[in-house]
């Protein structure tokens, strides 16, 4: 167990280092001079732009910049945003709760709706119910969030006036963004659960259980659904990347704060310290989700404990 923990920890450090290095390299290879981007519209002269470049440390050789960056990172220093002039750590901490809240709510919504839809589709496989639910799942999978979000606003905010279209502060504000983002997730979960349940229903142990007179609901929930949920959990965990990128759009459509909008702005403005900071947080989120998914899968499926 201790060896396992140590291995996971070393893997985590390696992943974080790779993410940090990729973020560093990708932004330095992207065309566009940060100093020029910041100052061009203000009428700064070429000399003034050059001075700002020196101030930002951009005229140092790349290896020097890289080592300085890693050294700062090792001390937990994410630097100061070139665009905002504020501490990157503070900026990320400000935006993280809103994004985590949305991602978590959308995951719960997507998992719940996905499992129920998938289960029903499997039970009624081959009927019109299955066709309808599978169609819904495909719709969820393939509708871009900016479109479904806008439709949700038009229907639920503008016409029915059930939920606010924009802003934050309490559950009503969370409903539409969660449903929009969660609906997309529910699609992939439903398809996975349906396939798993259909397969499990064909297993001899289901027939054996039936023969022993175990009530069908118990067979379904304990013997069929439980092993089927393992892969679904893996799917949900793998969807984190989708959730984070979907959150970018959702935040914009519903005028919410969040890391997504911060990241997009930072990339557009070549605000390297913020880009690197957000990438690191994303990598960290992946690691934590991966760990959590593994633990849940082991709990669901005892065969994985060996």
């Amino acid at each position: 167990m201790f060896g396992y923990g140590l291995r996971r920890l070393l893997e985590a450090v390696l992943v974080l280092w790779l993410a940090a290095t990729l973020a560093f390299g990708a932004m330095h290879l992207t065309p566009g001079d940060p100093a020029q981007t910041l100052l061009a519209a203000s009428g700064a002269s070429a000399d003034e732009v050059a001075r700002r470049r020196v101030q930002l440390g951009l005229d140092d050789p790349l290896p020097v910049q890289y080592v300085r960056y890693l050294a700062d990172l090792a001390r937990g220093d994410l630097g100061v945003s070139w665009l905002h002039g504020r501490s990157v750590r503070r900026m990320i901490l400000e935006q993280l709760p809103a994004t985590a809240e949305l991602a978590l709510a959308a995951t719960l919504f997507g998992a719940l709706v996905g499992v129920v839809l998938g289960l029903l589709a499997a039970l009624y496989r081959g009927t019109w119910v299955d066709a309808l639910l599978t169609g819904l799942a495909v719709l969820g999978l393939s509708t871009p969030v900016f479109w479904s979000g806008l439709l949700a606003i038009l229907l639920f905010s503008l016409h029915l006036r059930w939920f606010p279209s924009a802003g934050s502060g309490g559950l009503p504000y969370l409903v539409l963004p969660t449903a929009t983002l969660g609906f997309a997730l529910a699609g992939s979960v439903a398809r996975m659960v349906r396939a798993q349940v259909v397969e499990a229903l064909r297993m001899p142990y289901v027939l054996a259980a039936l023969a022993r007179g175990i009530p069908p609901w118990r067979i379904l929930l304990v013997h069929v659904l439980r092993p089927a949920l393992g892969p679904a959990v893996a799917v949900v965990a793998l969807q984190l990347g989708f959730l984070l990128s979907g959150a970018v759009v959702t935040e914009s459509v519903f005028a919410r704060q969040g890391l997504g909008r911060l990241a997009v702005q930072a990339i557009l403005w070549r605000d390297l310290p913020v880009v690197r900071g957000v990438v690191l947080v994303g990598a960290l989120a992946y690691l934590l989700t991966g760990l959590l998914a593994d633990l849940i899968q082991v709990w669901l499926d005892p065969r994985l404990r060996q």
Binding site: T30, P31, G32, D33, P34, Q36, T37, L38, L39, A40, A41, S42, G43, A44, S45, A46, E48, V49, R51, R52, Q55, V80, S81, W82, L83, H84, G85, R86, S87, R90, M91, E94, Q95, A98, F146, L150, I153, L154, S157, L158, R161, P164, S165, A166, G167, S168, E251, S252, V253, F254, A255, R256, Q257, G258, R261, L262, Q265, L268, W269, R270
Partner: protein, 521 residues
Amino acid sequence: MRRRLLVLLVAAALATGCTPQPGGRIVYGLTLAPSGIDPHINASSELGIPLTSVYDTLVYQDPKTGEFVPGLAQQWEVSEDGKVYTFYLRRGVKFHDGTPFNAEAVRFNLERIVSPDLASQRARFMLGPYERTEVVDEYTVRIILREPFAPLLDSLSQVYLAMASPTAVQQWGSEYQLHQVGTGPFIFVEYVPGDHLLLRRNPNYAWGPPVYQHRTAQLEEVEFRFFTDPATRSPALESGAADVMGEIPPQDAARLQGSADFRIEAVAIPGVSLMLFMNTTRSPLDDINVRQALLFGTDRKAIISAVFRDTSPVACGPLAAATFGYNPMVCQFYQPYNPDQAAALLEEAGWKDTDGDGVRDKDGQPLVLDFYLMGWGYMPEVGQLIADQWARLGVRVQSQVVSYPEALEIAKEGRHHLMPFNLSGSDPDILRRFFHSQGGFNWSKVNDPEMDRWLEEGARVSDRNRRADLYAKVQDRVMESALIIPIRDYVNLNGVSNRVQGLRFDARGWFPWLIDVTLRR
């Protein structure tokens, strides 16, 4: 004038049976999440929308006359050589935290702005050849320049050079932007980045400029929220999530205009119009005949109608008509749309379709132009229409959407044939960035020593008539030399709930004077 307006307002209120009353709150929709909101540091134009009401400036510009009027400075004088500005400050002004406003506060603010550690992205450059500030006595302050700089008063009338409380700036350091303290009609209550910004009425405000109509703010609170996705702006307005919303897309504006509950307040923004820069150093655009052909062969009216639903005027030259120094004579150039003349000019320049593939060619080279554009400001839509119009002329366009940093890089290296841009600004000195040989946005790659001299002199002389003459010549020269294809003057389409009355904007066109806004109940 003001009394007549008041009479009109009262009459209008009586006519509708509703009287504007003090108090209440509105939600104001911003369209960009600002890139930091310290006006001394950051460059975003969104920050000025809320913060213009938090701060006061030394002078104000009357949007009707273009004249500068007293603000925190009651009077000022400019030395003979144009290098020393002396400001006599208003007494009895207090920052929201109780700190008194005086000459030392002015010096503190200007020195903060130019300090290299602050890394200002805009304010520093608006001060031009600033050298230092001298405190003459408690209420007299001198700004000393290395050389004359005519746009200084225009700069000092903007929120970027507004007066912040020295106490608060020192107390909060790099977190000052979340705790801003000014002397203005509204107090900065809180800012949750990316979520909202809240202002509350300053009951002690009594030193507003003559351009304000009320002594203190009429609204109790104003909340700002960020609607970055254009498609969501009009739904937010209509669902009541916002009472005022900037930059409504033209197609939504047309619909809102017909509604009983909302109106569109279209505000012309001064500055450099949306225009296509033609790279005069890259073949075939190094030939003026080809550039003139493209000007004649661009149906700007059709673009305005299709993309902007006729909400913006066609631009005639580099400066928007709302800008001081705009020269209406530029409208004589390349108008109206004339594809026949365009074709004749191309023939004359030797571009003929010899192989019958629909694209003109010369010496075996097809007439293909590299067109780089950015994804915002309806540039892709404009680019698409232009490509279609020019295809009929036998000119092929290769369009590519690039990011702003990339565009700057491409322009620097001169890899483009065409690239569009627009920039707002109320002083015509803005032209220096675009048409001076050393300008940062010299995307036409022009090198005209005479125009350089006009632009340099325009930045130095303070006489307004002389400046207007110089900039008139620059605008003529830009169009005679066919450096650009002007498309449209920028117009901000504000969607406003009919509850909201008295919304007016400053000379920049972007920044509302919230002190005078009232709610109809």
